[in-house]
Symmetry: C2
Subunit: 206 residues, 2 copies
DNA sequence: AAAATAAGATACGCGATAGTATCTACGGGT
DNA sequence: ACCCGTAGATACTATCGCGTATCTTATTTT
């Protein structure tokens, strides 16, 4: 930290400020360079600190990785727009936006980590957060049933979760965001028909 | 090759025999250890040869990678059972079997290669093989139309390719084979209804 | 049989990274 | 002001893999 020093500007970080700076840098490195670029050398340089500082807190690479993931893990907001179609579109657009998308694509970034440790993404997820209670799309369908928009019948998880699966699939295939018209297509041409709905019976046009 | 030598047993490999042994070893290494384990050191040892032998043929790692992929790339057999449902189930089971599955999961194994080179799986695929003409499921649907099983109307690619997308998605999620009942579910509960068919109107039970 | 080719073996220098040791000096607590 | 903890800087050893040089020797060619 060869920083120009003024009487009131601290030149060293401590405690949470330091740890947050490190895990923020670690996250950037992970996203840009993947697991194999996630090295103490690179992260220390990115965070403007030195390797012993990292080792003092996280003696193993995995410790730092888990800390970094825990800091960046976010629950998904479940929209409640009053209509099933709009809920679905909003949720998928949220999933498609950068923050959530990066977490989805992490599955690929961490392939080598999973291979090394014999663990899985799902195992990691339950480690970072308690099991997500109800899958997001199941929540949307439940609400539509409550509103009387959908009949109260049993539906397979496969059908309920289909939009999320398809968007995730396309993201994994392209390693990038999905075009918005793809999202609209998945909801209107695939999912709503499978639920026995047409796109315009669920709510007025957006 | 410190091999016990008999008068008629050659101790050294040459030409295609040697190259095939190397690319076979390279493939095993790629599948087991991913792109980052794909090193000349490891492959030479696995093939029972020395690094200069590899460098003489493939001066760059990418050369050896492409040669290895070219040797193991296989076109997908399109089944023709006389019924759409059976065609679909057969095709998905083929996709789910080890050989084709490994190629699908290669997308993940090669994530670091794509990042390094700024290229993509689709680019790689068209490099290894001319563009596959008709997507497999489009072929199945075409045949069903010819047989009169399906109406001759326009269908979105999204719907036509849905089974393959969902199976691929589940494979990518689990990095493993998909249970057979998943395949049956995708075809019977999702795809055929979207095509306006019920599972048993396409053919007698399997 | 002799010559040519290249497979196989091995050694080397270099760069990157892990992990650790050591030192200086900032900054908080007393 | 003094003491202590530790941030930041730097150096070191060990390991791994890349890429190359050199040598021996099996095998094909002449």
């Amino acid at each position: 930290m060869s920083q120009q020093r003024t009487p009131t500007t601290p030149t060293r970080r401590r405690g949470a400020a330091l740890e947050n700076a490190i895990t923020d840098a670690a996250w950037e490195v992970l996203v840009e360079q993947g697991y194999n670029g996630f090295t103490f050398e690179t992260i220390a340089a990115r965070a403007g600190t030195s390797k012993p500082v990292l080792y003092r807190r996280w003696p193993q690479r995995e410790d730092l990785l888990l800390a970094t993931l825990a800091r960046n893990w976010r629950p998904l907001n479940i929209p409640n727009t009053g209509g099933l179609r709009q809920d679905a579109l909003t949720l998928l657009r949220t999933v498609n936006a950068e923050r959530a998308r990066t977490l989805i694509l992490l599955r690929i970034q961490l392939a080598d980590y999973f291979r090394e440790t014999g663990t899985t993404f799902n195992h990691l997820r339950s480690h970072l957060r308690p099991a997500d209670q109800t899958p997001p799309f199941a929540r949307l369908v439940d609400r539509a049933v409550e509103r009387g928009e959908l009949a109260d019948i049993r539906r397979s998880e496969r059908v309920v979760n289909l939009p999320f699966d398809l968007v995730r699939h396309d993201m994994l295939m392209s390693m990038d965001a999905v075009p918005d018209e793809t999202i609209v297509e998945i909801v209107d041409a695939v999912w709503l028909p499978l639920l026995g709905l047409s796109p315009h019976s669920t709510q007025t046009r957006r």
